[in-house]
Amino acid sequence: MPKKTNPRVKLIVSLSVISVILGLMLSMQYKNTRAAAKFQLDAAHVYDPRAQYTADQLNKTKETNSQYEAQLEKLKKQMFELEEKAGDIAKQESPDLKDELSKYRVMSGILPLKGEGITFTLDDSMVKDVPKDWDPELLIVHDSDLMNVTNELLIAGAEAVQINDQRISSTTGIICIGPVIKINGQKINRPYEFRAIGNKDRLEAALTLKGGVLDIFRYRTLTIQPPKKSLSVSINGYSGNFNGLSENK
């Protein structure tokens, strides 16, 4: 028995050694090409030092801004808490003050909110075999699509709407400048996640209506994650400057 198995085992062992070596070679190969690609990328970066400088500056500024945003968020929380207490004290003199303040803050959009509602996501088409005579414009999500969805949600009684991390306020524009979509002056990237607070059944019905927006998007083969109803949708506070409205005394 052992005499018969020996050559076979040998063959198997040598085969496995060979495949291990092959595998290692393959991985070396990949590593090499990766290094080469990275080198080329670095070269592209060095190619335009001014662009690189601007990019670095931009990243730094963005980082500082998000720190400031966090700081402001904390301060506002502190202020709201103090106002809560102040409102209770002021109640004897002016009973509606506290409630009105809270209500109009919700309306202006500066408060983070929570409530029943829906979320859903929209993205460009991932379908490869669309008819050749189709306009490629049909396959991507435009600012007008985001506007239409927002409008539909508001028509259905949404009390607050947010796209990605941008809350829709009284001065929020959804516009496109060249190939980028901007909301509140901030660039937003696909996929586009909608969050809306309101009657969840009505909101869902408004989108999934036969012949409604989602049907049209589906026909265009856009990528849709259908509306999910939830009892607690969280929405950001608006942190913009109301296009200078507040400064205008």
Binding site: G23, T54, K62, E93, S108, V161, S239
Partner: protein, 246 residues
């Protein structure tokens, strides 16, 4: 032998599989955004905006700090607290669209042009005309995205939850109130030049509806945008984070 054979094969293929996986994941990971370094102009614009935003945030932080200090120092003083809160309420009402805004701005009129209607194919015309609400919502968005501070459509103030809806060709709703679609007047206070730039894309789609769009400038500060006209703003579903009810 058969078992040995199987084991070796399994081992080798597992090894290969693991190696391949590691390779692929490590190859796919470094997705450097090479295009970011290319477009200097776009970068510069973005940098300017972020810098502006930084100034705004700094101002906000200073103001909020001052308010916090004020509220803390007034703790025992009831009438002073009432005054502070009332001032804050004025500010918040302004941001919510609950107070009148006056200033420089533009008046955009979108109305039927019978010369245009006469030359359009009637089927396409009514198709386009049923989209009036969507297009008006776009006009409002392009004004907001181009530095409009306050906007009204047929004297209905645009607020955070405003919608514009075409029920059909002849029925239009703004803020759920019926308005006439024949002549729509949009008033906007804000940066006049910038708002006009934002409107430049609209004449063509409105022409498809047999409508012409005209823009009139008001530069003596007399354009008035009325407040949102429903005093009974009620929030049924949305609650501030942390609070139970409004």
């Amino acid at each position: 032998m058969k078992l040995n054979n199987k084991i070796t094969l399994a081992l080798v293929s597992t090894l290969l599989g693991v190696m391949m996986t590691v390779q692929f994941t490590s190859i796919n990971r470094p997705k450097l955004d090479s295009s970011a370094a290319v477009d200097t102009l776009q970068l510069t614009t973005e940098l300017n905006q972020e810098t502006e935003r930084q100034q705004f945030l700094r101002r906000q932080i200073r103001e909020t700090e001052a308010k916090v200090r004020g509220l803390e120092s007034q703790k025992g003083n009831q009438s002073q607290l009432v005054r502070t809160l009332a001032e804050e309420l004025e500010q918040v009402k302004k941001q919510a669209g609950m107070s009148e805004v006056k200033g420089n701005g533009i008046i955009v009129t979108i109305e039927d042009d019978f010369d245009l209607i006469a030359v359009k194919d009637s089927y396409n015309l009514s198709l386009y005309r049923s989209l009036l609400g969507d297009y008006l919502f776009r006009v409002v968005n392009y004004l907001k995205g181009n530095e409009a501070k306050a906007i009204s459509v047929n004297n209905h103030r645009i607020v955070s939850f405003s919608s514009i809806r075409s029920i059909d060709e002849n029925n239009l709703q703004v803020n759920t109130v019926m308005v006439s679609p024949d002549k729509v007047m949009i008033k906007a206070v804000g940066n006049v030049d910038q708002m006009k730039v934002g409107l430049s894309i609209f004449p063509q789609p409105f022409a498809e509806m047999g409508k012409k769009i005209t823009v009139k400038e008001v530069d003596d500060g007399t354009l008035v945008i009325p407040p949102y006209d429903d005093d009974a703003v009620q929030y049924q579903y949305a609650h501030p984070e942390g609070e139970k009810k409004l």
